[in-house]
Amino acid sequence: MELDNAAVEEEVCKEMTGEIIVSMLKILVFPGALFLFVLAFFYEWVDRKFFARVQNRYGPLHTGLHGILQPIADFFKLLSKEDITPHSSDKITFILTPIFYFALPLTTLFVIPILNQKSLIAFEGDLIFVIFAFTLIIITVFLAGWSSMNRFSTIGSMRAVLQMLSYEIPMGLVAIGPAIAAGSLSISRIVEWQSPNFWLILIQPLGFAVFTICLLAELQFVPFDIPEAETEVVAGWRTEFSGRKLALLRLGRDLELLLVSALIASLYLGGPQQFWLIPPIVIFLLKTTFVVMLLSLLRAAFARFRIDQILSGMWKYLIPLAALQIILIQLGLGR
């Protein structure tokens, strides 16, 4: 019997090690960190290429097929560049903020369902966690600009925070829409709910529009690229960053783009679904690519607003629209 017990224990141990290894692999490789890096670089290429084609330029062309490896090449080039920490900067914050800026969207991506309708980490209320992470990203941006002690960085970071004050409230308001419809605050559950019913964009188009505009501002894309308006404040809050730090900031930006497009795809476009024999991940990739292209099209079609115009515009138009969407849902339309 003793022997048996030991065997069972060994078996359980083996199973557990196996499970740990599998979940480690899931988090680190697929559909975790490594896969997300590749995807982030791929979407940067999609964004750059599509944006360039819209503007009648070629875009990335030489590295890899149609320049598909250009973002990775840029990343490695920046890693090898001289890494400067300005003398008068707040050094600890200055060094830490790029790491946070890159880690925050990466961590948040784990709660978004990618492989199938269940995300790697799913809990009731992860939608709120995502919105909280968006705020944290902007606070990191503020700290990054503030710690650089550069005139342009300071202005840029102040503008970033002012902009956050304008778009965060309508974004939070409309994000509740899908949650009310699905009766859950978990993104995985919202995705599951859409699969037998219908995509939420069909019944909450207003919410989709407001959410996309707010996330455009979150990404600091034209017309909301005020914090890094190059003709006004050079590179804004990123002015002083170089070398490895800039590489991390760029990767963080790519991951943020991936996060935003994945979030829109999950909340409003049904996320990963099985269509006939096509695996859910392919559907997910198609949907996110579509969202990335929509975002780049929007950023090609406008001029930059002024910060006061953003603030008043968001409060005057977007918040009432967001409230209207919630009222419509409460009246029974769109759930």
Binding site: V222, T231, E232, V234, A301, F302, A303, R304, F305
Partner: protein
């Protein structure tokens, strides 16, 4: 909103919104500009002195290089001045060719400016599109003159090359294409909400201020003042060509954009008329090397406004004194007026709104305002004073 105290924000000489070195010291109260102090003279090239050291023929090429964008305006102004001193007149066909080149240059320069203005307000798509279509004008220049930028078309007593019959249909095709595209952009500028938001009511320069501060060119015409050297003091063949002077009374950046867009369309009409009614004959008469004693002032409507050249000759092959007043200098006081009371975020577009060409403008003089003294220094004296010891 007032914060009680103001801060000084320097803008330039190195700044992404300025392609040329110039410094503006802004006094800012919160987001509002309350005072502007321009400091010009960073790009001293000694070009007026260089004029005095070269012969009249060599100086054509020097005048060409005062500005890279409006190089033809400078040579037209120069050759016109020297021709007047010599008592030589360019043949009628040469005058029409000068008009064609000048108007093509106006289209090229204004298109370049529209692209830059779009870039200043973050509308890069418009920037790319306009500059793509501007290539058409450069191709036409290459066909007519052999060069894309410094055309070297004018010479004393006429032009260097003729416009041949086989070029005319190609020019017409190019003009048709440009007209179609320009109408599209004109419509886009008037209807695109984000452009209107950034340009309308920004950088106000009232008519009275514009006149008082001696603004020139499209900046002045956008403030509702009808002023154009081509009409007021016709040179080359402008007295024979009917055209409209574009005036807008918006007094803001939007009016400046619209004036320039419509001027491009008008330039296309002028070019078409000139191609139709171009007389035949020679394009160049021979001019003597030595210029008789005398002095002359010559005026030309460059794309950026009224350009003034002054020449004084002493009977030799080289001018005794040469002075160039480029249009940007005339617009600087008006620019300071426009910036006052505006937002900090509007500084780039208002600055770009006068279509500045600082490098053409900058001269240097040694003055002591307190003692009311002026003096000259040679290169050696300068080096002794400022070179690293």
């Amino acid at each position: 909103m007032s914060y009680g105290s103001t801060i000084k924000v320097p803008f330039g000489p190195q700044h992404p919104a300025l392609k040329e070195p110039e410094n503006f010291l802004f006094e800012v109260d919160g987001e509002i500009v309350v005072d502007v102090k321009p400091r010009i003279g960073y790009n001293h090239r000694g070009i007026e002195k260089a004029f005095e050291l070269r012969t009249y023929m060599q100086n054509i090429y020097l005048a060409e290089r005062i500005c890279g964008i409006c190089s033809d305006a400078h040579t037209t102004c120069y050759t016109q001045a020297i021709e007047e001193l010599l008592g030589v007149e360019a043949p009628p066909r040469a005058k029409y060719i000068r008009v064609i080149i000048a108007e093509l240059e106006r289209i090229q320069s204004h298109a370049l400016w529209v692209g830059i203005a779009a870039h200043e307000i973050g509308f890069d798509t418009l920037f790319m599109y306009v500059w793509r279509d501007r290539e058409t004008t450069l191709d036409m220049f290459e066909m007519i003159t052999g060069n894309r930028i410094h055309y070297a078309m004018n010479t004393i007593g006429g032009v260097r090359r003729d416009i041949h019959a086989d070029m005319v249909p190609k020019i017409r095709n190019g003009l048709d294409f440009l007209e179609k595209r320009l109408r599209y952009y004109l419509n886009a500028v008037q209807t695109e909400q984000t452009i209107l938001k950034r340009a309308a009511g920004v950088g106000i320069l009232k008519s009275k201020d514009a006149v008082d501060l001696c603004a020139v060119g499209p900046t002045l015409r956008a403030s509702g003042i009808m002023n154009d050297v081509r009409v007021d003091d016709p040179y080359v063949a402008y007295d024979e060509i009917p055209f409209q002077v574009i005036v807008r009374d918006g007094c803001d950046v939007l009016a400046r954009i619209l004036v320039r867009c419509e001027e491009m369309l008008e330039s296309i009409e002028i070019m078409r008329y000139a191609l139709d009614s171009m007389p035949g004959g020679i394009v160049k008469v021979k001019a003597p090397m030595k210029v008789p004693q005398g002095e002359v002032v010559s005026r030309v409507e460059a794309p950026r406004g009224e350009l003034i050249h002054y020449a004084k000759s002493n009977g030799t092959t080289k001018p005794e004194r040469y002075k160039v007043r480029s249009p940007t200098l005339g617009n600087i006081p008006a620019l300071c007026k426009m910036l006052l009371g505006g937002y900090v975020a509007d500084i780039p577009i208002v600055l770009a709104g006068i279509d500045p060409c600082f490098a053409c403008m900058d001269r240097m003089a040694f003055v002591d305002a307190k003692k009311n003294k002026k003096w000259n220094w040679t290169m050696q004296q300068l080096r002794r004073k400022y070179a690293k010891k």
